[in-house]
């Protein structure tokens, strides 16, 4: 565990200084600030809806870019810069290296999301309290849950990108990870396409149904982590919300563990 932690801390220190990631962080923060400032031009209800919607959307999108760009390059960059040689020639197992890189990346993603999230929560709380005289507590709690789900969505996305980075080039990995993310966000669509249906006038090809069934099962369900609607709209609720959140967090952890295990097995055989 010490070795994994050492590699993770080295990765975190290096990743936090990557300009491309800082651009997304600062762009995200700037949009959140502007969103909070300009949404005040609308009515109270509309103002809070726009602020929350924009803020969570920006954190999610910036998180996606930070996560994908970071994870697709973590391993290839180590190979290109040859740091991997001096590390793997030490008594370091390949799975320790991979897990360390993943953990370091996760710490970076967590810090970026947490920074944007904290700024966003503070601004929303200030707006609720000072501008409209509302108790910010419920909104802060709801937004925190939304940010937590975004973080676990990014954990899952990072694991997908890291898994592909073990055997694909960053260029191919970028598009493939995005494709997985888009498909994972459209899980209701893949579910519908995987349904053979019972309309005899429009029979579905068994092959196509089979492909979508596999896709629906294999591709992680990113859509489950988008809980913006109940946060934005006070009339919408998630049934058994704590269980829903806990279940999806567990899903992200298990899925990530599977991807890292398979990734480690492949990386063990990979020549660097």
């Amino acid at each position: 565990m010490n070795t994994i932690w050492l590699i993770a801390s080295g990765t975190f220190g290096e990743a936090m200084r990557r300009k491309v990631l800082l651009i997304f962080l600062f762009a995200g923060l700037a949009i959140i600030l502007m969103g909070v400032a300009f949404a005040g031009l609308a009515t109270q209800a509309r103002d809070l809806t726009v602020t929350k919607s924009l803020g969570l959307g920006v954190i999610s999108l910036a998180g996606v870019f930070i996560s994908v760009i970071l994870y697709i390059t973590l391993i290839p960059q180590e190979i290109e810069r040859r740091t991997i040689y001096s590390i793997l020639s030490k008594p370091v197992q390949r799975y320790q290296f991979l897990c360390g890189k993943f953990l370091g990346g996760l710490m970076t993603v967590l810090l970026n999301i947490a920074l944007m999230g904290m700024v966003f929560i503070l601004l929303v709380a200030a707006k609720q309290w000072f501008q409209y005289g509302l108790n910010p507590g419920p909104a802060v709690l709801a937004i925190s849950k939304g940010i937590l789900m975004i973080f676990f969505q990014m954990t899952l996305l990072g694991a997908v990108a890291m898994f592909f980075s073990v055997f694909l080039s960053p260029f191919v990995n970028f598009f493939l990870t995005f494709a997985v993310w888009l498909l994972g966000n459209a899980s209701s669509l893949t579910e519908a396409l995987a349904d053979p249906g019972n309309d005899p006038t429009h029979p579905k090809s068994a092959f196509v149904v089979g492909i979508f069934k596999v896709l629906h099962v294999v591709i992680p369900n990113f859509a489950n982590y988008n809980i913006q609607n109940p946060i934005i709209n006070p009339h919408e609720h998630i049934t058994n919300e704590p269980i829903y959140i806990a279940w999806n967090i567990l899903y992200a952890i298990v899925y990530t563990a599977i991807l890292l295990t398979v990734g480690s097995l492949i990386f063990d055989k990979r020549e660097v």
């Binding site: 050492l6 810069r81 740091t83 001096s86 008594p91 197992q93 020549e271």
Partner: protein
């Protein structure tokens, strides 16, 4: 210069029984490479090489770019896997975690996490070996002093020159007090002072009984520090042996005057010498540097009534051998430069004079 090509026997090429000078028989083998083949799709990067490196020796691993040196080193470190053959380091398969505790690697132009200081980087690698606390810090300070960075330990690597990074690389390579060191171009891009410091450090490491596997294009360094060398070309070992043996030979130039040789004596001279040139009354004879050849030429001069004016021995260098091997390899593979170098032109002109 006479081209006394040393054609190694298959046994010599496999490295069997070739302990370096001063080494007792039965000394442990630090590295054993047996019939190593590494194939990348249609390209054979390493083609059935075998060699042993003994404990405590500095072994020079030479070859032009693309000869298969880095591929072999990566195989020895367990970073890549052999297509065929066997690779053992300290008696265990390459990549074995116990072996990694006892070896170290300095890659060419090493890169380290730039946000760290020199002290942190060396400490980071120390932690990978389980060092911690004051033991680690003491070792880090000792090594930074050894590589002359005691005053730069707190500086960020971002501010380091290439030479300073190389020193950090050496410090990290020594953090575990390794038995076997793999150095890939340790003096590449260094200024003459740093270059010499690192060369001296390599000799110091040898004096401590460490085994060093040195890949370098700095042939003068290799000649100075290495016990044995191998020269690779096209994935094959073309020469393998003690440095002194490889550069042995050379030629002797005998200058004589007043030679009045008969036709028969001139015919004898052609057998004795590799080259002879008569200018006015002075005859210059070039022959192999062996005592027998020298004596036969001297006897011939006396028999022909001449006086020996001078006798000069020309020593071959590792660079000569290296060039010879590479050129021979290029001719075999048809990859030789078609534009002759100044050196070659000079040699060709000389040959024409000899023939005329």
């Amino acid at each position: 210069m006479a081209q006394d090509t040393i054609i190694p026997s298959p046994d010599a090429l496999s490295g069997n029984g070739m302990a370096p000078p001063g080494f007792k028989d039965g000394i442990g083998k630090a590295i054993e490479i047996k019939n190593l083949v590494k194939q990348y799709k249609k390209v054979t990067a390493v083609n059935n090489i075998s060699l042993d490196v003994y404990e405590g020796e500095i072994f020079g691993f030479l070859g032009p770019n693309g000869a298969g040196k880095t591929t072999t080193i990566k195989t020895l470190l367990g970073l890549i896997f052999p297509t065929a053959g066997e690779v053992l380091v300290l008696g265990k398969p390459a990549g074995d975690i116990d072996v990694k505790e006892k070896l170290s690697y300095l890659p060419e132009s090493p890169y380290f996490y730039e946000h760290m200081t020199a002290s942190e980087v060396v400490g980071f690698y120390g932690s990978l070996f389980g060092l911690s606390g004051t033991t680690k810090q003491k070792r880090v300070d000792e090594l930074l002093e050894l590589v002359g960075l005691q005053n730069a330990g707190k500086k960020s690597l971002r501010a380091f020159s290439k030479g300073m990074l190389q020193r950090v690389g050496i410090a990290q390579a020594l953090i575990n007090d390794p038995k076997v060191l793999f150095f890939d171009e340790p003096t590449s891009g260094l200024d003459p002072v740093a270059h010499r410091d690192i060369r001296d450090l390599i000799l110091h490491l040898k004096s401590e009984g460490r085994t060093i596997f040195l890949s370098s294009h700095q042939l003068s360094d290799v000649e100075l520090v290495c016990d044995r060398v191998s020269i690779l070309h096209g994935g094959k070992i073309r020469r393998l042996g003690h440095v002194d043996e490889l550069i042995a030979g050379g030629s002797v130039e005998v200058v004589a005057e007043g030679v009045k040789a008969t036709e028969t004596q001139m015919a004898q001279l052609r057998d004795l010498s590799s080259k002879s040139e008569l200018v006015e009354n002075t005859l210059t004879i070039t022959t192999a540097a062996s005592t027998e050849s020298k004596n036969r030429v001297l006897d011939w001069v006396r028999a022909a009534g001449g006086n020996v004016l001078s006798m000069t021995q020309t020593r071959r260098t590792l660079e000569d051998i290296f060039y010879e091997v590479v050129h021979q390899g290029e001719l075999e593979t048809g990859t030789a430069f078609t534009v002759p170098s100044a050196l070659e032109k000079n040699s060709m002109e000389k040959n024409l004079v000899e023939k005329n």
